[in-house]
């Protein structure tokens, strides 16, 4: 494969060999899989043989069984699924992957929406079929976060009272922030409260009233204006929910009075919103979800400081739908569509300046009685046809179309994608091909825009994973991609960017060796090429090709029951070639070794030590006396890092951490063949403190971390070989965050 890559890099006339390479690649992979031993079906799919199990180490008493297959099935990354579970653990009781999937299925939601919907539905009076009961629920949270230049104090409360058919909900959040920069203090204060009270008439209908208050206050010494806003909204609300498993409908209405004083405009008038959801399901053969939102206001508006009131109409529509046909059958179809439209109107004022003075001096602000209307529109749709035998054998075909329109321009795009996943003789094959095309129109404004951009992006990649016997796993990866950008000027004065292509290809071979539970090892060889291709003669001088060669060896050995060593060695060479200016050709090398020691000592002591060394020589190819170009180093950097993390947990509620970190780097440069030292950097950082997870009374919890951070970097600058040490610049400050939560 490597030789194929090198051949394909040759210049004109090599198109045939490229096609041959494309042909030979799948053939060689297929032959390889057929000649290797151990062709029996694997108990666990080879696809997850390279899964990084460090993701599973967690201390929050959560279990991530079948994390990788589940994430793969949901088409999300494992760390995203893991992060969702950690985030939702406070909202969803008894959190586990199975529980999360069960809730997503039950609520007909994607898994990343389960937490917010679960939290929101607690305050919906029609939840639990509007059953009349007696309930008092109160939660209070206060947090204080201090960083070097920022402090944030948050206070929030959630109150829920249900007495028979009546209910009262209140959500209050207060956030006070201070930023210090160059001796000046910037303040931002945000206070929000939403209160709703009402009556649940029956299982399907409730009425009530809602008030919303917002107070935003800011002081920024560097800004001549503020972003202050005072907003009050009072509305009558109605909720309705009806249906069964076959047909479910929900509708929420709110209408009332708006009073909004912001720096952009003062708006007073009627406001309203309506949102609804319809779900139709026919067993496992068909389901259709349609949800929509309408919001708007009819207001009298004026700019602060002006007298003339104008009629303004703000309006926003959002409609989304999903159609799923035979979602669990071997042949299934999934269609999504969305429409959105927003219109915001604000009065216009004109600021007059005296242009005869330097600098320009503001005279006054004139109210011209006109309205600025900003409209954004968009519609999109996609359809996916899936032919599936099981999770390891399927073919999907996806197509989508989109159109968006905003004051800065319009964009139309369309794309198609094919995904193939198959098991061939115990080897897991993944192959993707995508083709995306778009046209953007950049409106001529403020000296820019005034042109069309046609873009095209094609990509294909394949991956083959196979276990060889009991101890070896191989992974072969190949990918290729091309992006193209073309421009058409629509105005005489327009200056569109230069047309260009970007090409990339990559081949990678990984071999993992797992002789025992105590030891694992692996090697990686990777070859890549990226090409930046400007088309026009005025810009092609900067075209360049970067050929990257990378080798990696990693091993992991458990020395004792509680002591593990891991080392990762990498060698990288990037050859940067300028096809039209060979005098600028350059080479960058990188050798990096990372060694980690991880120990868990008796008495809840955890020690992690990391040592990293890297050397980065870089040079250019310059002509020598014999007329040939030779590599000459232009600079050379050596970097060393030693860091450790020591944690001691004497009790579940208390943890102590100490984290020293030492760095050192040297940089030298070469001019006219003479290598001279240019700069030496040394630095010592230290952080130490406590972690708290304390129960306060029967229903309170105090959590957080408080640390002291110390840093002392020094630099020596060399001038003609003589070093000058920079003055000491120590920094020493506290950082931390504490959060107190209490519930009734």
């Amino acid at each position: 494969m490597v030789s194929g890559f090198l051949e394909s890099d040759s210049l004109p006339g090599m198109a045939r060999s490229k096609r041959l390479t494309l042909l030979l690649l799948p053939l060689s992979l297929t032959l390889l899989t057929h000649t290797l031993p151990g062709r029996a079906q694997q108990a666990v799919s080879a696809r997850f043989a390279f899964s990084d199990t460090t993701l599973l180490r967690d201390t929050l008493d959560l279990h991530f069984d079948r994390l990788f297959p589940t994430a793969d099935s949901l088409q999300m990354t494992p760390d995203t699924l893991r992060a969702l579970m950690i985030r939702y653990r406070l909202v969803v009781p008894r959190m586990s992957i199975a529980r999360l999937l069960q809730l997503a299925d039950s609520l007909s939601l994607p898994v990343d929406s389960v937490g917010p919907v679960f939290d929101r539905e607690r305050y919906n009076p029609l939840t639990n079929g509007g059953a009349h009961r007696s309930l008092t629920d109160f939660q209070y949270t206060s947090g204080y976060d201090i960083q070097r230049t920022t402090t944030t104090w948050t206070n929030g409360s959630q109150y829920r009272l249900v007495r028979g058919p009546t209910y009262l909900n209140n959500l209050t959040n207060v956030e006070l922030q201070r930023f210090t920069s160059s001796g000046a203090v910037t303040q931002r204060q945000n206070r929000e409260a939403t209160t709703e009270a009402g009556l649940t008439l029956n299982r399907s209908v409730s009425f009530g009233g809602r008030s919303y208050q917002l107070r935003f206050f800011s002081i920024d010494p560097g800004s001549p204006t503020t972003q202050d806003e005072t907003k009050n909204e009072y509305s009558l609300t109605a909720r309705a929910k009806k249906g069964n498993k076959a047909v479910l409908t929900e509708a929420n209405l709110a209408s009332g009075w708006l009073d909004d004083h912001s720096t952009a405009a003062i708006k007073q008038g009627f406001s309203g919103s309506a949102d609804g959801k319809v779900r139709i399901q026919r067993g496992t053969t068909f389901s259709h979800d349609l949800s929509g939102t309408l919001t708007g206001n009819l207001s009298r508006s004026r700019t602060p400081g002006q007298q003339i009131d104008l009629n303004t109409h703000d309006f926003s529509t959002n409609l989304r739908g999903n159609l799923a046909v035979l979602p669990n059958a071997p042949l299934g179809l999934n269609v999504n569509y969305a429409f959105r439209h927003t219109r915001v109107e604000t009065p216009i004022t004109i600021v007059r300046y005296d242009t005869t003075l330097t600098p320009l001096t503001r005279i006054d602000t004139v109210d011209v009685g006109l309205i600025n209307r900003i409209v954004n529109r968009g519609k999109s749709g996609d359809a996916t046809l899936r032919m599936r035998l099981d999770n390891d054998r399927y073919l999907t075909l996806t197509g989508n179309l989109g159109l968006s329109d905003s004051p800065t321009g319009t964009r139309k795009d369309g794309s198609g994608k094919t995904t193939l996943r198959w098991l061939i003789a115990g080897a897991a094959l993944d192959a993707n091909y995508s083709d995306t095309r778009g046209t953007s129109v950049f409106t001529r404004q403020r000296g820019g825009g005034g042109y069309l951009e046609h873009d095209l992006s094609r990509a294909a990649d394949g991956q083959l994973v196979r276990t060889l016997g009991r101890r070896f796993v191989t992974k072969l990866i190949a990918s290729i991609g091309l992006d193209q950008y073309r421009y058409v000027a629509q105005a005489d004065s327009a200056t569109p960017p230069s047309p260009r292509d970007a090409y990339r290809q990559l081949y990678r071979v990984e071999l993992s060796y797992n002789p025992s539970e105590k030891m694992t090892s692996g090697v990686v060889v990777q070859v890549g090429l990226t090409r930046d291709i400007n088309i026009l003669s005025s810009t092609t001088g900067s075209n360049d090709d970067v050929r990257s060669y990378r080798g990696e060896w990693r091993w992991n050995y458990r020395l004792f029951h509680s002591l593990t060593v891991t080392q990762n060695n990498q060698l990288t060479a990037d050859y940067q070639q300028y096809p039209f200016v060979s005098a600028r050709n350059a080479l960058s090398l990188n050798h990096n070794t990372l060694t980690s020691l991880s120990a868990h000592l008796p008495g809840n002591f955890f020690i992690d030590v990391q040592h990293n060394t890297s050397r980065l020589p870089r040079g250019s190819y310059l002509p020598a006396a014999d007329g040939l170009n030779y590599l000459q180093l232009s600079d050379d950097s050596r970097n060393y890092t030693l860091s450790s993390s020591i944690r001691y947990q004497p009790a579940p509620a208390l943890g102590i951490h100490v984290e020293p970190h030492y760095t050192s780097s040297e940089r030298s440069g070469t001019v006219n063949g003479v290598q001279t030292k240019q700069r030496t950097d040394m630095g010592m950082d230290f952080s130490g403190g406590v972690d708290l997870n304390w129960k306060v009374g029967p229903k309170g919890q105090l959590t957080g971390r408080v640390s002291r951070s110390y840093s002392d970097p020094r630099t020596i600058n060399y001038l003609n070989g003589v070093g000058t040490l920079t003055p000491r610049a120590e920094t020493d400050f506290w950082i931390g965050n504490l959060q107190l939560s209490w519930s009734l």
């Binding site: 096609r19 042909l23 330097t358 073919l395 290729i480 088309i535 003669s537 001088g541 200016v581 003609n720």
Partner: protein, 220 residues
């Protein structure tokens, strides 16, 4: 059925590969460049001045970068900042013409803006910039050990139209150029501009670089 479909897909892919159809990942063939980018060479005072001359003649991004890189930048901590000083008689004459005071001091940010102005004085023209020894001054001073240099130069920037029939002088004059060597690399730290005894300050064809610098502030 699916195995057959899969095999059909593989067969189709192979057929497409060998059929000789257009490679969908074939990038466009770029045009040959109209000119080479400026090669930056700051290894000696002479090569620094040559790089600056090429930067003015080349124009474009490559020229702009080379011109910027020739100038000392105090923000790096290794060199003092760059300053340009107009000839006093030129500054006085420009003050009368422009009815405003010249910017003082003329520092690196102003010089960077000046480059963009200079290459746009006659946009469609080809520039030719030449340095020559200034015979009206004493010899150049070069102290390689101390890393300092003072060069006296006569300069002339001419522009010729595409058909070669029109040739205009954009700038002409003399300069005392102070240079500093740091880590074997030379930087221009100071440009003291002068005009010749017979040079007319009123003639637009005899503007000095100092005058052009001041003129560039009126177009910003």
């Amino acid at each position: 059925m699916f195995r057959h479909a899969f095999l059909a897909c593989i067969a189709l892919a192979l057929a497409v590969s060998v059929s000789g159809c257009r490679n969908p990942f074939q990038p466009a063939t770029p045009e040959l460049p109209t000119g080479l980018p400026v090669i930056e060479n700051f290894s000696s005072p002479d090569s620094l001045l040559t790089t600056m001359a090429n930067a003015v003649m080349k124009k474009g991004t490559s020229g702009r970068n080379a011109y910027y890189h020739a100038l000392a930048d105090s923000t790096g901590g290794l060199t003092p900042g760059f300053y340009a000083v107009p000839y006093p008689a030129v500054a006085d004459a420009w003050r009368l013409t422009a009815q405003r005071d010249p910017p003082n001091p003329w520092n690196l940010p102003l010089e960077k803006l000046f480059y963009d102005y200079l290459i746009a004085v006659l946009p469609g023209f080809t520039y030719s910039f030449a340095w020559a020894h200034d015979n009206t001054q004493s010899v150049d001073i070069l102290d390689d050990g101390a890393g300092t240099a003072l060069y006296h130069r006569y300069y002339e920037l001419q522009a010729s139209s595409a058909d070669g029939l029109t040739i205009k002088t954009i700038a002409v004059g003399y300069a005392d150029l102070y240079m500093l060597k740091v880590n074997s690399r030379w930087y221009l730290t100071r440009w003291e501009d002068r005009v010749g005894k017979d040079q007319s300050l009123a003639d637009p064809e005899q503007r000095s670089m100092g005058w052009r610098r001041l003129d560039s502030t009126t177009s910003q």
